[in-house]
C-alpha cells in the first residue's frame, strides 16, 4: 500500500465521517436571540468555586479517619465525589451556555474576529477534554481534592477579578444594544 493511496483513502473516509457527524440533528438549546443578554447577566457557578473548595477541605475526612470513624469518612468521601461531579456538570453547562451565546453573537455580527473565534474553539476543545479526563479520574477513585484547600485563596481572588471586569463590559454592552425589549 503506497503513501499516496493511504493518504487519499483516509482523507476521503475522514471527510465522509465528518459529513455524517455534522448531519446529526442538533441538540435543543435554551439560549435564543431574545434572551442571550439575560443569560450573560445570570449568576455564575464559577463564582462558587471558593465555597466548593472550602467544603471539600480534606481535614475533616482525615479527622474522622484518625478518630476511627471509617464508615463516616467513607460516606463523606462519597458525598464529596458526588458534589464535585455535580459541580463539574454545572461548570460544563455554564461553559456550553457561554459558547451558545458566542455563537448567537457571531451570527448577528457584521464581522468576526478570527482570532477570537479560533480561541473559543480551542478553549472548548481543551475544556471538553479536561472535563472528561477529570470525570474519569473521579470515577476511578482518584480524588482530586487533596490540594483544594491550598487553591481556595487563589481561585477566590481570580474569580473576583474577572467577575468585576466582565460585569462592567456586559452592562455597557447591554445598554448599547438597539434591541427592542422582549415581548
Amino acid at each position: 500500500m503506497t503513501l499516496s493511496l493511504l493518504f487519499f483513502v483516509l482523507m476521503a473516509l475522514l471527510v465522509v465521517g465528518l459529513l455524517l457527524w455534522a448531519s446529526r440533528p442538533p441538540k435543543p438549546v435554551a439560549v435564543s436571540v431574545e434572551n442571550f443578554f439575560d443569560v450573560l447577566a445570570e449568576n455564575r457557578h464559577c463564582t462558587r468555586l471558593p465555597q466548593i473548595l472550602q467544603a471539600l477541605n480534606p481535614e475533616d475526612e482525615r479527622h474522622l479517619q484518625s478518630s476511627g470513624r471509617e464508615d463516616m469518612a467513607s460516606a463523606l468521601r462519597n458525598d464529596r465525589q458526588r458534589i464535585v461531579l455535580e459541580y463539574l456538570d454545572k461548570l460544563q453547562e455554564e461553559f456550553e451556555t457561554l459558547l451558545e451565546v458566542s455563537r448567537i453573537l457571531a451570527v448577528m455580527s457584521p464581522e468576526l474576529t478570527a482570532m477570537q473565534e479560533f480561541e473559543r474553539l480551542s478553549l472548548s476543545v481543551k475544556f471538553g477534554i479536561s472535563c472528561s479526563f477529570l470525570r474519569w479520574r473521579l470515577r476511578l477513585g482518584l480524588r482530586p481534592w487533596n490540594g483544594f484547600g491550598r487553591l481556595s485563596g487563589m481561585a477566590s481572588s481570580l474569580a473576583r477579578t474577572v467577575e468585576q471586569a466582565t460585569s462592567l463590559i456586559s452592562e455597557r454592552s447591554m445598554r448599547e444594544t438597539q434591541f427592542p425589549p422582549p415581548v
Partner: protein, 269 residues
C-alpha cells in the same frame, strides 16, 4: 472464459446505468426548470447541463475513435475540465446560499473555506504522480477531494454556529460530498490498474453518481415553495467586540478552574 463473460455483463450493465444517469440528469434539469430553480441555482443547473453535454460528447468520441484510442481518452478527460469547474462553482453557490445571509460568518468562512480548499488541492497534487499524462486526472482527484472537504467543513460550520440550512441545500451538498469522496476512493484504489480495469472503474463512477442524482432529484421534487429568507438580527461591531472579549474571558476562567482541579491532583501525586 468466466472473466470475459463477467466483463461483457459489466459492460452492458454499465451502458444501462450510463443511459439511466443521462435520463435522470435530464429529469433533474427539467424539474429544476419547472420549479423555477434554474434561476436561483444557475451554476448547479449549468453543471447538470454540462454533464449531459459531456456524456453525449464522450459517446460520440468513443463511437468515432473507439473506446481504447488515445484520442477518445484525451477528449474524455479534456471535457472533464469545464465539468469539474462548474461543479466547484455549484458548490460555491450552495455555500453562498447557506452562509451568505450571515454577514460576519460569511466573511470569516469565505477565507477559511477557500484556504482549506486550496490547501487540500495542493496537497493532493503533491501526492500525485508527476507525469504530464496524469495531470488532469490527478488535478481532478485533488479537486474532488477539495470539494468533499469544503462541503464537510461547511456542514461543520453550520452545525457549530447552529445555522439553518434548507433541505435542498443540505441534500445538494451531501450529494456532491458523497460523490466526490467515493470518486477519490475509487480512483485511488484502482489507480495502478486503471488500464485493465477501466470498465469496472467507470461502472463504480456511474453508480455513485446515480446515487447523488437520486438524492438531488428527490430534494428538488420535494421542494414545495420558495423557502422564506429569514434575515438574522444584527448588532454593531463594537458590541460584538466587547461581548466577545467578555465571553472569551469567562471561558478562560472556567478553563482555568478546571485546570486547578487537575493540578491539585498532580500536586497530590
Amino acid at each position: 472464459m468466466l472473466v470475459s463473460t463477467g466483463m461483457v455483463g459489466l459492460l452492458h450493465l454499465h451502458d444501462i446505468l450510463w443511459l439511466l444517469a443521462i435520463l435522470l440528469e435530464i429529469a433533474t434539469i427539467a424539474l429544476l426548470a419547472r420549479k423555477q430553480l434554474s434561476r436561483s441555482y444557475p451554476f448547479f443547473f449549468s453543471y447538470l447541463c454540462s454533464v449531459v453535454t459531456q456524456s453525449l460528447f464522450i459517446a460520440y468520441a468513443y463511437y468515432h475513435w473507439g473506446f481504447r484510442s488515445e484520442m477518445a481518452w484525451r477528449v474524455a478527460w479534456g471535457s472533464q475540465v469545464p465539468v469539474i469547474l462548474l461543479r466547484y462553482l455549484a458548490v460555491v453557490e450552495i455555500i453562498r446560499k447557506t452562509l451568505g445571509k450571515y454577514t460576519g460568518i460569511w466573511a470569516f468562512a469565505r477565507g477559511f473555506l477557500s484556504g482549506a480548499g486550496l490547501l487540500v488541492t495542493l496537497i493532493s497534487l503533491l501526492f500525485s504522480k508527476g507525469q504530464w499524462q496524469w495531470v488532469i486526472m490527478n488535478a481532478n482527484r485533488g479537486m474532488e477531494l477539495s470539494i468533499a472537504a469544503v462541503i464537510a467543513l461547511l456542514l461543520l460550520f453550520s452545525r457549530y454556529y447552529r445555522l439553518t440550512m434548507g433541505r435542498l441545500n443540505r441534500s445538494l451538498a451531501t450529494g456532491f460530498c458523497l460523490y466526490s469522496a467515493f470518486y477519490v476512493i475509487n480512483y485511488s484504489l484502482l489507480e495502478k490498474h486503471l488500464g485493465e480495469m477501466a470498465n469496472f472503474w467507470n461502472f463504480l463512477g456511474v453508480l455513485t453518481f446515480l446515487a447523488s442524482l437520486l438524492l438531488w432529484i428527490s430534494a428538488v421534487g420535494r421542494r414545495q415553495e420558495v423557502e422564506r429568507l429569514e434575515l438574522p438580527r444584527m448588532i454593531s461591531l463594537e458590541v460584538y467586540g466587547r461581548v466577545s472579549t467578555e465571553l472569551n474571558l469567562r471561558l478562560h476562567l472556567l478553563n482555568r478552574q478546571l485546570g486547578q482541579f487537575l493540578s491539585s491532583e498532580d500536586h497530590k501525586q
